[in-house]
Subunit: 339 residues, 2 copies
């Protein structure tokens, strides 16, 4: 069972979306799981009452698996990520992560500031040995299975060694959380051949060949929407956080553009919703911050209750599968092999 | 008037697509323009006959503005780009570019190997003073006007100074060929703020602020499909060729993915064609190779006759607008200002 701390105050639609998402998640999760709503007790209680007396009246049974953990400080969008932990030690983010560091919780989920969550997770949960910074992994919808892309924004200038670490982190995540054994790892570049790419990519290609991972070689931008090359599917795609973030934001903006042009061409809203449903990020829930000692799931700032629900489910699966221990074990094994 | 040399042998569908594209282009261009079809005379003549006696029988009048220039060597996909100029001096690519270097042609268009065209253009046309390598500019369809993105694949590791040169090249191209005065230039990064981005991007941001260009600051991946930020439109987006190529190939692969899922959701092929028409690269013709002394237009390897026609029209516009002289003058002015 998992005790999942949810930042009740984080995200554009908090606390309505977060509290509602918690109730929706508990209705779908195994009854052994529970959620700790972290935030202003009075605000969370009032929101809970509104929902249970209103649109989520059928979810009253889930109330027993919810606890509220008081966190009076509020993080503003103008707060510098680096100042959050020290300056606001009783924010929902700091309190939620501290619960985990103290062994009173198993996972943390937030739709608040990504930068603040990253810094707070690094400081409070700390990093696995050998890692300096975490990586954010995002699931990209594709014509085959969703592809795990990392880093999608935490690290802008990466060394080849860091890209190899991302590959280990991503492969463990896909195996534990998505349940795909021996995931295929591709390196994002501008041509299939090992000699194609920038200097860091070419070096990383070389290192990945002897990494012990199921490395299928370079993949290109076109292989993301198709979920792999013509020959084989890809589960994990590695890139630095600059490229990953540019492509992620590009992808998020494409669907609205297409919907606009197709609506003008007379396609009905219902047809578009059915056809483009799998491009909706709320389907995929949160983006784990990998490399920290623990489970910290980043949810989109614009998360709906459904997106929060899915992020909580990702957190539960990460806990149940022992993802964090697996990551620690694999990093240790790789560093022993290298020594 | 422009004399445009077209590589009749280049591209997956040559010589049918190239010769047909030439006839289509001449029918739309000002009668003062003419096309030089470069390739095997017998092959081109046979193809011309087939088309004029068949599907393009209405285009007989265009025949007079076509000449055939013999080029017996054939470039294979296995030929190394660097070996083409020396190893196959009589390929359609080398002959076509030499016509321009010798003053007997004004522009060159090819759907053949991009790498070979880049190297041959550098060697035969040579670079403008102060530039080491050319950049490829591609038009990205957007919700507003198409956005010129460069570099989209010629330069994988770029310095901040090179990114600024791309900005000058791209702005001149947009002004001359697309007819948009004082184009807005954005720098592709992972946040609006100047301090967001990787090391090279942050330095380039700083340099662009005093470049004399209409620099609107950083743009993000999401601003490409929307054609700018919420506040303002963008005409030119600058990035290194690694990021540019990844995003370009990603974009090219998105439409087929969406078409597949929307077809399964019951949207008709006609509606999709109407709605997604502006995402078809053949609408936009060729991608100019900027920085060489002359006009060299790269057309997609899978170019249809329509795509070839549009690439030829881009070439004509580049010649008529004096793009090449403008580029030379602006680079010289910028280097004087810097000195």
């Amino acid at each position: 069972m998992a005790r999942i701390a949810l930042d009740a105050m984080g995200g554009d639609f908090a606390p309505q979306a977060t509290v509602a998402g918690a109730l929706l998640a508990l209705a779908e999760l195994d009854p052994a799981h529970c959620i700790q709503l972290v935030g202003s007790t009075s605000v969370v209680e009032a929101q809970l009452r509104t929902l249970l007396e209103g649109e989520l009246t059928t979810h009253a049974a889930q109330r027993d698996r919810l606890t509220i953990v008081e966190a009076p400080d509020v993080i503003e969008m103008t707060d510098k990520p680096s100042a959050v932990v020290r300056g606001k030690p009783n924010s929902s983010m700091a309190v939620g992560l501290r619960l985990q560091a103290e062994g009173r919780s198993d996972a943390f989920v937030s739709a608040g500031s990504t930068g603040a969550q990253m810094v707070a997770s690094m400081v409070i949960l700390r990093m696995h040995a050998g890692l300096e910074r975490p990586a954010i992994v995002t699931l990209f919808p594709s014509a085959r299975k969703p592809v795990a892309v990392l880093d999608s924004g935490a690290n802008v200038d990466c060394s080849a060694e860091e890209l190899v670490q991302f590959a280990r982190l991503g492969a463990t995540y896909v195996e534990c959380v998505l349940g795909r054994p021996n995931p295929a790892v591709g390196l994002l570049s501008i041509g299939e051949e090992p000699e194609k790419g920038n200097a860091v990519t070419k070096e990383a290609h070389h290192l990945l060949q002897s990494s012990g991972l199921n490395f299928i070689g370079n993949v290109e931008g076109r292989d993301l929407p198709t979920g792999g090359t013509e020959r084989e599917a890809v589960d994990v795609v590695i890139c630095d956080g600059f490229v990953g973030n540019v492509v992620l934001k590009f992808y998020e903006a494409i669907a609205p553009l297409m919907i606009g042009t197709l609506r003008s061409a007379g396609v009905s809203a219902e047809q578009l919703q059915a056809g483009l449903k799998h491009l909706d990020y709320s389907e995929y829930g949160g983006a784990p911050l990998l490399g920290v000692k623990g489970v910290s799931i980043i949810s989109h700032g614009k998360s709906s209750p459904r997106a929060i629900k899915n992020a909580v489910k990702v957190a539960a699966q990460a806990v149940v599968s022992g993802m964090n221990d697996q990551i620690g074990a694999r990093l240790a094994a790789a560093s022993e092999n290298a020594a």
